[in-house]
């Protein structure tokens, strides 16, 4: 769950802060999580000292800095490196990177919640409900389609579109909060993370 929720924000930070190409960022993110699991970094997290997300962000910073120093040493020695970090040329401020990390983390958590909803709908024979929800609140987020258009597209009554959306939104809310619960270790952290997830502390 932790890797699934944090992989995308980690890649986004590596690309933004260290100017990596997508493929290199993915490789480095893989190395980061592999190291984290292998050396049990994540076990060292002390919830008294702050949010898990902040801790993981600090671990990533340390890891990327170490990689950066290694790559410089290898360059000086005439070796090629698999990943070349270019910290000096990057003009992103720490605040910008933090904002990006938060934004991508929220996107990741909500994507996981959407996946859970899809699985639930698939398992309970509610595929149309999921499709209506995606059509209205995901694909149509910019300019939601009219209920009548959705009703025609999915061959259901207009009132049924409202029912589908009502049910799916409730379940989606539940999945989002459950996902957040699974990613946090205390009530206080859960509430703080909920504020970030919902964009309230921006």
């Amino acid at each position: 769950m932790v890797v699934a929720a944090y992989r995308t924000p980690v890649i986004a930070v590596l690309r933004k802060q260290w100017s990596l190409e997508m493929e290199d960022a993915e490789d480095l993110a893989h190395d980061f999580f592999a190291h984290a699991l292998e050396r049990e970094w994540l076990v060292r997290y002390d919830r008294e000292k702050g949010r898990f997300r902040t801790f993981l962000r600090r671990c990533l910073q340390d890891f990327a800095s170490t990689q950066y120093e290694s790559s410089r040493r290898l360059k000086r020695g005439g070796h090629l490196t698999a990943v070349s970090l270019d910290h000096a040329g990057n003009m992103s401020t720490a605040a910008e990177v933090d904002r990006l990390f938060d934004q991508e983390w929220a996107r990741s958590v909500l994507t996981l919640s959407l996946d859970r909803l899809r699985e639930e709908c698939g398992a309970s024979g509610r595929q149309t409900t999921f499709d209506v929800f995606v059509a209205h609140d995901v694909d149509g987020a910019d300019e939601p389609p009219r209920y009548a258009d959705l009703a025609a597209r999915f061959s259901v009554p207009v009132t049924q579109v409202a029912n589908y959306l009502h049910w799916a939104r409730n379940r989606f809310r539940g999945h989002a909060l459950e996902t957040l619960r699974a990613l946090t270790t205390s009530d206080a952290e859960f509430r703080e993370e909920a504020r970030t997830l919902l964009g309230r502390d921006a």
Partner: protein, 312 residues
């Protein structure tokens, strides 16, 4: 795994955050958000009218839920034209506690009075005192009076809002919460009850010592705020100083006593908070009784003239 666009992210955040008010209320735009929840404009579908829906966020802790329910009960006990009316309360379909109140359309008091005369400002202030005094008569202390919490409605009515940190006097006596900053508006136990600048000093020490004089302090600070921008007469300055005295025992003992002094000043009478010099007292006496004094003077002059005429 699906990739969410920025628009979808915004939309899905709203899906999680937006209350599910069932069939009774259609929830519209967010009007404001504080530590104790969010207020949305909503339509009561049954009664076909717009209302304000106050609801906790989906991640609310249970102690905050109890506070919102208590706030609803406090509002229900305060039926007064100067206090926003509550229509409904309970738990929404998604389990969040809520209450529904009158939707106040108007302006904040401090914005409203910008173009008003000092007399008009003082009459608005007296309307606030009236509402707060009523609450005190019901044993409720507001504890967070400030310009942002007073609205002037579209019919000119003054309404005291946000009773989220209000307490019944009996509860305050046993309350161990301390008063910190009000930036968050949080009302959890042990945190944030009041707003710096409008908060009585005793609220910073221990809530157990807080009584109606904490509201007297806040009203004094509010009066100072309302009178900012013009020359404030000495008696009014004295009223403000007495209301905002650092020690509670030096303040007016009640909101009624504060209001009485303001009303006296408006009527040109003497003000209890102000030790008036003799010449000011004489001038005030003349101003209040100028017609009678001029009449008496005219009578004396005429009488003297008649005496002089007869003597000649």
């Amino acid at each position: 795994m699906m990739s969410l666009s920025d628009a979808a992210l915004t939309r899905l955040r709203d899906v999680v955050d937006r209350p599910d008010a069932g069939d009774r209320y259609a929830v519209h735009e967010l009007l404001g958000r504080g530590g104790m929840g969010a207020v949305y404009r909503a339509t009561d579908q049954l009664l076909q009218r717009d209302v304000a829906l106050k609801v906790l966020p989906p991640e609310h802790p249970e102690d905050i839920a109890r506070r919102l329910e208590r706030e609803a009960r406090v509002l229900a006990a305060l039926e007064h034209p100067g206090i926003v009316a509550i229509h409904d309360a309970g738990r929404l379909a998604d389990g969040r506690p809520f209450y529904v109140m009158r939707l106040v359309r108007g302006r904040r008091l401090d914005e409203q009075v910008r173009d008003e005369t000092p007399g008009e400002r003082l009459r608005r202030f007296l309307a606030v005192c009236d509402a707060v005094s009523f609450a005190h008569s019901k044993g409720v202390i507001h504890r967070d009076l400030k310009p942002a919490n007073v609205m002037v409605g579209e019919f000119g009515e003054v309404l005291v809002l946000d009773w989220g940190v209000a307490k019944r006097a009996a509860e305050v006596a046993g309350d161990t919460s301390h008063v910190l900053s009000a930036e968050t508006g949080d009302t959890g136990d042990g945190v944030a009850v009041g707003t710096p600048g409008f908060m009585a000093p005793e609220q910073l020490i221990a809530a157990a010592a807080v009584d109606v004089r904490a509201d007297v302090f806040a009203l004094g600070a509010l009066l100072r705020e309302l009178m900012t921008g013009g020359k404030v007469a000495a008696p009014l300055r004295a009223i403000i100083a007495k209301a905002t005295a650092p020690t509670a025992s030096d303040r007016y003992p009640s909101v009624d006593a504060l209001a009485a002094d303001v009303r006296a000043w408006l009527d040109g009478a003497s003000v209890s908070a102000y030790a008036e010099p003799v010449w000011e007292k004489a001038l005030r006496f003349y101003r209040r009784n100028s017609a009678l004094i001029l009449l008496l003077l005219a009578y004396v002059v005429v009488r003297l003239f008649i005496l002089w005429w007869r003597g000649v």
